[in-house]
């Protein structure tokens, strides 16, 4: 009997030990571990004290050089050594989650997926309200007050837990048209809906790519009715990269996927689909098939990001040397206030975990430097007497001295910790990057600008959808939008779809979105 008791005891011990393997660690040893690895002030080669911290972000270049004159430059300016870490973007969210679970979070990191909300609600993020004003005054002033209000609205206690990425006034997306096709069919860039449809018809019927085959797709979109924002935008629907956003209708925030305007837009797209003006494989186009159609001289009009259009242009030229692109205005639809949605706050840039509170002043001072003029010059042109020289007090850039590696390292993302971008910045980099294509890209921006509009749901945390996966993933919208467009369901059934959407959690989400909206506009 006694032996049995002892057996039970030892089994119990074993279970406790084994369970220890499972939960042994967590936040408690976070401080110890980070303390072990970095953080002690070291000395640089000149013997000055250099503070350092770990800085995790992606997507940036994976192969970060260990040593580079650029690091020395930034350390010499800030006295701070930011030790960059990264993971491939595809696994980034998962990696970050395991890092959080093991209590080994770097002092500054970029959240991804829903990690920002996870940390805020679970008490793992550091509130930055006072720290920002004290240690990062330039950064603080650069962002308008509305932006900070939106950041505050993303947490229950109304504090600032992250620094957002902010593309202030860049018209990021635009209608892109084949200029040579327009010339081949003898038409002008359309400005109204009627003209737009006429152009599509001509693209369909008049062999604009001049290969003798009727293989043209006047316009095309992607799986889930994505990347056709312009054709929804014409009807005043807030679409962003093919996902319905939220907009104010009669004083209340409403899901753009269920507005009466959406109904009109779907009816219009159904007409295009039936007339074969819209690629009938739209709902099967993955991004590479869609790109392939555009780059193999088959598509006349599409909607995308001008900043990346140079790659398309270059590939297209190899297939059809006469190919030319042009940005087109949003066609005017009578009775509708059309626009192209812009989300300057689409991403969250940086958070500091609570465990790293003692590093916050250092980190914020470091971030603040990137808002200085010398930092901007460095990001765009590199180092003086290396890739640029001073002539008559002005910067003369030396492209022949610059390399891919240097651009990537100092630029938009790898070393650069800038979170606020304006058009001026993009225009300067575009001149360096896009070569002969710079003018066309700038033309696209100019054309899109008058139609671009910040949408009301910009900066809204994804957590409003928590518990309602079918609403948050836009599953219901995508399924029904596709059925309406291909004509499997008549548009008269739109109200039934709206009812279904509301019943499946849409009402609850709408309530949460409106609460957020009230808070963010206080």
């Amino acid at each position: 009997m006694r032996k049995r008791v002892r057996n039970v005891q030892s089994v119990g011990m074993a279970i406790v030990l084994l369970t220890g393997l499972l939960i042994g660690c967590g936040k408690s040893n976070a401080v110890n571990e980070t303390g072990d690895q970095t953080g002690e002030a070291g000395a640089n080669n000149k013997g000055e004290q250099v503070e350092s911290f770990r800085f995790l972000k992606a997507p940036i270049s994976i192969e970060i050089p260990g040593q580079h004159p650029y690091y020395d430059y930034v350390i010499s300016k800030t006295g701070i050594d930011a030790k960059l870490e990264t993971f491939p973007w595809n696994d980034y969210t998962q990696r970050l989650q395991t890092i959080i679970a093991s209590g080994d979070i770097p002092e500054l990191f970029r959240p991804a997926g829903t990690i920002d909300q996870t940390l805020i609600t679970q008490g793992g993020a550091l509130a930055l309200d006072d720290l920002l004003q004290e240690y990062a005054p330039n950064l603080w002033k650069k962002f308008p007050e509305e932006v900070w209000n939106k950041v505050r609205a993303a947490s229950d206690d109304g504090k600032i837990y992250y620094i957002p990425k902010y593309d202030s006034d860049m018209p990021g997306r635009s209608i892109i048209m084949r200029k040579d096709w327009l010339e081949n069919v003898g038409m002008e860039v359309p400005t109204t809906l009627e003209e737009y449809v006429e152009v599509l018809k001509a693209f369909r019927d008049k062999d604009p790519n001049q290969n003798g085959q009727k293989d043209e797709l006047p316009t095309s979109g992607r799986e889930g009715a994505r990347w056709m924002d312009s054709m929804f935008g014409m009807y005043g629907v807030a679409m962003f990269e093919g996902y319905p956003e939220w907009q104010v209708v009669d004083g209340q925030m409403m899901y753009a996927g269920i507005t009466p305007n959406m109904k009109e837009a779907l009816a219009f797209l159904h007409m295009l689909y039936k007339e074969k003006l819209l690629d009938n494989e739209t709902f099967l186009n993955k991004s590479d098939t869609w790109n392939a159609k555009i780059q193999s001289d088959k598509v006349g009009v599409w909607f995308h990001i001008p900043y990346q259009a140079n790659t398309v242009f270059d590939n297209l030229k190899k297939v059809n040397p006469n190919a030319e692109l042009i940005g087109a205005p949003l066609p005017k639809v009578e009775g509708y206030d059309g626009f192209i949605s812009q989300k300057p706050l689409a991403f969250i840039d940086y958070m500091i975990p609570k465990a790293a509170a003692e590093y916050a002043p250092t980190i914020l001072k470091y971030l603040d430097w990137w808002y200085s003029e010398e930092a901007e010059t460095f990001m765009i042109y590199g180092l003086e007497n290396d890739t640029w020289v001073k002539e008559d007090g002005k910067i003369k850039y030396l492209p022949e001295k610059d390399t891919q590696e240097k651009m990537t390292l100092r630029g938009n993302g790898t070393m650069s910790a800038l979170s606020y971008y304006d058009t001026d910045f993009f225009e300067k980099t575009s001149e360096l990057l896009h070569g002969e294509f710079t003018n066309v890209i700038q033309q696209m921006w100019e054309t899109a600008r008058p139609f671009s509009r910040f949408i009301e749901s910009d900066g809204m945390p994804n957590s409003v959808y928590n518990g309602f996966g079918d609403i948050g993933s836009h599953k219901i919208y995508q399924e029904y939008a596709a059925k309406f467009i291909i004509g499997e369901l008549p548009i008269e059934k739109f109200d039934e779809y709206v009812e279904l959407w509301k019943k499946s959690g849409g009402d609850e989400v709408t309530k949460k979105v409106n609460e957020w909206y009230q808070k963010s506009n206080q």
């Binding site: 393997l21 499972l22 997507p59 973007w89 595809n90 392939a292 001289d297 790659t311 242009f313 896009h434």
Partner: protein, 289 residues
Amino acid sequence: MKNRTIGEIAAGYSNHILLTLAALTMILPFINVIAISFSMPWAVSANKVSFWPVDFTMESYNYLLSKSDLWRAMGVNVFVTVAGTAFSMLTTVMLAYSLSRPEFLIRKPVVLGIIFTMIFQPPMIPYFLTIKNLGLLDTVWAMIIPSGISAFNLIILRTFFIQLSGEIIEAAKIDGCSDFRAMWNIVMPLSKPALATVGLFYAVTYWNVFYHAVLFIRSSDLYPLQVKMREYISDTENIISGINQTGLPYNPDTLKMAVLVFATIPIIAVYPFLQKYFVHGMTIGSVKE
């Protein structure tokens, strides 16, 4: 044996034809992958490549081979595969043998318990924490030990062992063999096809190690091929989206295919060598019953 009926001859021919046609459909995608890996990005982006490279180029491979840490990653793969397969075979064979013997009294509950682990899989975060607390995190062993035994392979091997006539083993034991000797001298030589199969399964799993590497490995020195190569691809994607790289003779698509070719050909090549163990009559026929 010689007098086959007409029906049998016809069946034989149609069998050959069917198999050949089906095998052709199996190889075409691979040819497509190879063709893309040798084509210029513009042709790939425009979907012009099917079974022959368009605008032939080796640049995707040159880019990969220019990476100094590529061979290191290959070395990690070879080590993980060789050491892992050895470790797995050793533990699996011993356990499978024990579980195949009726004298192993607790075999029923143990087998049931093992099958339980096939169906109830550990959730990611607890799995990660266990490995971390065992001190394996960020070591090469994290890619070997946690995938040490595949319950599936174990059950397969056990089934093969059971099918060997129990009499053979009994006879061996009467001759004075211990269980270990019986396994080593009698059972294993008779189970070459099964061992080759299970060994192949293990080797392929280790070679393709990905989940465990992504989950448990932080230092890029220890990255296996699959992870390393994905880094290169992801890097190219960043460069291309951020910067004017239109003149580049490779892109993420061509690289993906080059990576696939580069990383899978070594492991694909293993199979033909193992096939010599798949020979009829090697097992029971060779022992007098």
